[in-house]
Symmetry: D2
Subunit: 153 residues, 4 copies
C-alpha cells in the first residue's frame, strides 16, 4: 500500500466499549473505523449517501473486505483513518484505507473494500455512474486508475 | 420484580466480542439481550414486527429503559432472558425482563422498557391497538394490568 | 433534569453503523454515547481510568442505568453529550447526562448512571475515595450534593 | 471454497440490532458471526480459549481477515456458520468459514482468517504448538494441510 497517495483523512478516538477483554480494539471494530473513513471521504467529495439517494438513484453494495492487522489500537488512542479510491472499473470500485495512531504514527491496520454498482430495480451490476467517476477522478487525479467505460459494440 | 410471573423465556450464549476489557459483558449489551427477549416474546405471541408492519400499521417507540446490573455475565455463559408485559396503559405499555445465568441461576440483570404507541402519520401518541391488548391479555392473563380503554365521552 | 447545571460536554458524530433499520440510532447506542461522556468527564478531571488503576487501586461498578429517549438521533448528526456527577453518597455516586443535537439544540436523550465503589479484593462496597470526592467537588462546586463520610462511631 | 470439506457448524439467529438502515445485516457483523464459529470450533476440539490460557501459555493474534459478501442476511433469519482450519504453517494457521441461510441454503458470506502464534513474553512469532497441530489434524484429517515443523538444523 502506497501511503503517499492518500489525500483524505479523518480521525476517531478509541472508545471504551470498542476494546475487548484482551485490552485492545476488537478486530471487527476496525471495519467500522474504515467505514467512518469512507463516509467522510464521500461527504468531502459531495457524494450523497443518504437513504433516499442510495435507495432510489444509486445502489451500491460492498462485496469484499480485506483487512490486515498491523498493531493493536488501545483505549483512548487517537487514530487517523486514511481513505482513497484506488480504481474504478466498469461495474465496481475499490477503496483502500489505512489507520495510523496519530501521536506515534504507528501503523494499525490496512483495508481494501470492493463495491459494486447495482441497477436500482433489477439489482444487476451496471456501469458505475459517469458523474461518480468524474467527481472521484477530479479529487484523486493521477492517484487512481479509472478504466474506460467499455465501448458500445 | 416478581420472577414467578414470567411465562416466556429465551436464551443467548455470551459471545466473545460482547465482553469488554474488564472480562465481563459490557453494560450496553444487556440492553441488546433484553431486546432479543422482547422480539422473541412478540414472535411467540404472533405479533408482527417486520419493517412494513411497524411502518405502515403500527408505530411503536421505546421511550424509557431502566436496567439494574446484579452480577456480571461472563464469556460463553448461557443466559436465560425472561420477558413479560406488565401493563398496558392507554397509549403505552411496559415490558419487564430479567436475565439469569442458566446453570447457576445467578441473577444477572433486570430491565424495564416503556413503549408508546404512535399514530403512523402524525407521530402523536394514540390508544394502544385493541388487537394487541387482546393478544397480550390472552397470553399473560391475570399476570398483567390492562387499563380500560377510556370511554368515549 | 436541570440542564443549566452541566459544566462538561463532549461531542460525537452519529456513525453509519449506529443507525438501525428504522433509520435512527439504535436504542442501546445512546448508552455508549453517555459512556463516552463519562470517560471524557473523568479524563478532564484527571481521574485515571485505565486498566491497571481500576483493577488495582479503585474498583468501580455500574449498578443502574436509566435512559429516557426524547427524540431519535439520525445518521451524521453531531451530538453534544453533557455530563455531570450529581451526588456522591457513602459508597455510591451518580452521573447524569443528556444528549442534544448540536445545530438544532433538539433534546435527544437523558441518562442517569449509578456507580458503586468496591473493595479491590473483597468486592464489597466501600466508602467512595476521599480524593475522588475532592476532585469532583472542586469541579462541580455547589452543583452537586456530597454526603458526609459517615462518622466513625 | 470447497464446501464439502467442512465438518463443524453452529448457528446464530440474526438479531434486530445487527440489521442496519438498509434492512440487512451490517457488513461488520459477519466478522462477529465468523468469530462465533471459530470459538465454537475450538471449544468442540477442546482447545482452551479463556483469558488465562491465552495470556499465559498461548498467545494467538488475528493478522488478516478476508470476507466476500454473497447475499445479505435479514432480520430473524437462522444462519449456519461453517468453520474449518485449512492449513497450519510454521508460525501461522488459517480458518476458513462460510455462512448459509439455513432454510433456503442461500450462501451469505465467506471468510478467511489468518492467525499467528506468538511467544507469550516477547510477542515474536513462534512455531505453532505441537499439541494444537495434533488436535486439529485429528479432527480435520486429510481435509487440511499441515506443514512440517522445520527441522532443527
Amino acid at each position: 500500500m502506497d501511503y503517499s497517495k492518500f489525500k483524505h483523512s479523518t480521525q476517531v478516538r478509541v472508545r471504551n466499549y470498542e476494546v475487548d477483554w484482551q485490552g485492545v480494539v476488537h478486530n471487527a471494530n476496525y471495519l467500522l473505523y474504515f467505514e467512518v473513513g469512507r463516509v467522510e471521504y464521500l461527504k468531502h467529495l459531495g457524494v450523497k449517501l443518504d437513504l433516499s439517494t442510495i435507495k432510489n438513484e444509486n445502489r451500491v453494495v460492498l462485496v469484499r473486505n480485506e483487512i490486515n492487522y498491523k498493531s493493536p489500537a488501545n483505549f483512548d488512542e487517537l487514530l487517523g483513518i486514511y481513505t482513497r479510491i484506488t480504481y474504478i472499473k466498469n461495474t465496481s470500485f475499490t477503496f483502500e484505507g489505512y489507520i495510523q495512531e496519530v501521536t506515534s504514527k504507528r501503523l494499525v491496520a490496512e483495508n481494501l473494500a470492493v463495491h459494486v454498482w447495482l441497477h436500482p430495480q433489477t439489482g444487476e451490476p451496471i456501469t458505475v455512474s459517469g458523474n461518480f467517476r468524474e467527481v472521484v477522478e477530479k479529487f484523486e487525479g493521477k492517484r487512481m486508475i479509472i478504466n474506460d467505460i467499455p465501448l458500445i459494440p
